[in-house]
């Protein structure tokens, strides 16, 4: 079976933060975005919101630096997970992660990160604009590519010059 990954489309995220709420409720039983395993990076001045969560890197630096092997790659799901029962809370993985994903849970005194909610990510379930999706890895990016191509066809059919744009900051970087 193809491996599933969390596909994030920053253009669709409207910064509602329901994913943070759902994640914290699922994992901690309370609405506490500070303990959410997914975080929204925000650029208020330009209205950009980017959900950030574990990418399950092919070469995960967190597993490399973890002294207790709490951070490991699960053989069944191929996901990078943190075993809370082994974690000593040294925070080295937080420094090691280039995406700044792991966070130190001050209640449990261990480092936590996205564990994909046992295969049914709660953030995906509550994301209305579908900025976060749980897709087979070969289909990641397919929606965006489909959207761009459909826009290209629409512009072409209307006799307009198709333009590729980055709507999040209004930059137009090419014409054909």
């Amino acid at each position: 079976m193809a491996e599933k990954v969390l596909a994030i489309d920053a253009e669709k995220c409207d910064g509602c933060r329901k994913c943070e709420t759902a994640c914290s409720v699922f994992h901690t039983g309370a609405d506490n975005p500070g303990r959410s395993r997914i975080r929204i990076l925000t650029w208020d001045n330009i209205g950009l919101h980017v959900p950030v969560t574990c990418q399950s890197c092919d070469k995960p630096f967190c597993t490399e630096v973890c002294p207790a092997k709490a951070c490991h790659r699960d053989l069944k799901t191929n996901k990078v997970l943190i075993d809370k029962n082994k974690c000593i809370g040294c925070k080295t993985c937080i420094l090691a992660c280039p995406f700044g994903v792991p966070l130190f849970d001050k209640v449990e005194h261990v480092t936590v990160k996205c564990d994909f909610c046992d295969g049914e990510p709660q953030c995906v379930a509550c994301c209305e604009p579908r900025a976060i999706e749980y897709l087979d890895e070969e289909f990641v990016g397919m929606n965006r590519r489909r959207g761009v191509f459909q826009k290209f066809l629409a512009d072409y059919a209307a006799g307009q010059q198709p333009v590729f744009s980055y709507p999040e900051i209004g930059a137009e970087v090419g014409e054909i």
Binding site: L41, W43, N45, I46, L48, V50, V52, F61, T63, E64, V65, C66, P67, A68, K69, A70, K86, C87, I88, G89, C90, K91, T92, I94, L95, A96, C97, P98, F99, G100, F104, E108, H109, V110, T111, Y166, E168, I169, G170, A171, V173
Partner: protein, 331 residues
């Protein structure tokens, strides 16, 4: 106009490793440095065998430092889990290095006490020398390890350079040498024994001066290379130290108190040898400033921007090419 895409959160220093880590690096460095210097002093024949104990107290400091590191853990009772990943984790490897240094160092320290209890250890000399050699190697490894551990954090560019282990090793030897001078002087002062010759202390003071000079050069080189490095936030970390919030720690606590003043006082000390006030003033300045050095380096470490931040900034500068280079911040 403020740049709208620079997320100023990422110009703030890291908070994951705090003062406990810096204190551990300092004590482990000083303890291992003292052990290295102490063993060298003993091997070169400067110490009376019956008073070797004063030269071998380094493992106590290393162990004490480890307690600070354990205190920083989220779940302290699990600290033994640290042994699990020596294959790739420097934290794990350090556990083994420091453990051997502490345990074997404690053994030779304990053996050095036996003559005071009337036990003749003359027949143990080969065994003790073999132990000395093991402890020397692991003490040197511990001194180098403190820098390698910090350097292994690759996404704090300020730390990710081979000059950092060099700096920490030289610093460990400096503090170790200074601490050994003070320990032997205090021992002679309290015991009225003159077990350690003033000649030995003068030689050690000269070595300490040399080490301070070398350390100053390495520190300057380290800061210069980190300032000139193009990747990451290392330049902002250097600016934080030399002109930002930590400037007084750097210029007063490290440069003035750790290098300039001790060197001046050491020149005066060479004319008034064994003056206790001068000796302890130099010692206090050197030892305190090295702690500040480690605190400054830990607290000035700024984590590099995430790929998301770089991507958004790149797109912003594609749209506004006149916006110029990314403005530097110093937190």
């Amino acid at each position: 106009m403020a740049n709208p895409v620079i997320n100023s959160r990422y110009f703030k220093p890291q908070k994951e490793w705090g003062w406990q880590v810096a204190v551990d690096l300092y004590l482990a460095g000083m303890g291992s440095g003292a052990l290295v210097i102490g063993l060298l002093v003993d091997w070169l024949g400067y110490s009376p065998y019956s008073s070797r104990t004063i030269l071998l107290w380094g493992p106590v400091l290393v162990a004490f430092g480890a307690l600070f590191l354990i205190s920083k853990l989220g779940i302290r009772r699990r600290f033994l889990n640290t042994v699990m990943n020596p294959k790739t984790s420097w934290l794990s490897r350090g556990f083994y290095i420091l453990s051997v240094c502490i345990i074997f160092g404690a053994v030779i320290l304990a053996i050095s006490l036996l003559p005071l209890l009337g036990v003749d250890i003359g027949s143990w000399s080969l065994f003790v020398r073999a132990l000395d050699m093991v402890v020397f190697i692991f003490a040197l490894a511990a001194a180098v390890y403190t820098g390698i551990l910090v350097r292994s954090v690759r996404f704090v560019s300020f730390w990710h350079t081979y000059l950092l282990p060099v700096l920490f090793t030289v610093s460990a030897l400096t503090t170790g040498a200074m601490a050994t001078v003070m320990a032997t002087y205090t021992y002679d002062l309290l015991v009225f024994n003159e077990a350690y010759s003033s000649n030995m202390r003068n030689v050690l003071m000269n070595i300490t001066q040399g080490l301070i000079l070398i350390e100053a050069i390495v520190l300057a080189l380290y800061l210069y290379t980190r300032y000139m490095a193009e990747e990451g936030q290392s330049r902002n970390s250097v600016l934080l130290l030399i002109s930002g919030r930590l400037w007084f720690v750097f210029w007063l606590g490290i440069v003035a108190s750790g290098f300039a003043l001790p060197l001046v006082l050491a020149i005066i000390y060479s004319r008034f040898s064994e003056n206790p006030i001068l000796l302890f003033a130099i010692g206090a300045l050197v030892l305190a400033s090295r702690l500040l050095l480690r605190l400054a380096i830990i607290y000035a470490g700024i984590k590099d921007q995430t790929p998301w931040h770089k991507f958004v900034e790149l797109q912003y500068y594609l749209k506004f090419p006149d916006a110029g280079p990314v403005p530097l911040r110093n937190g």
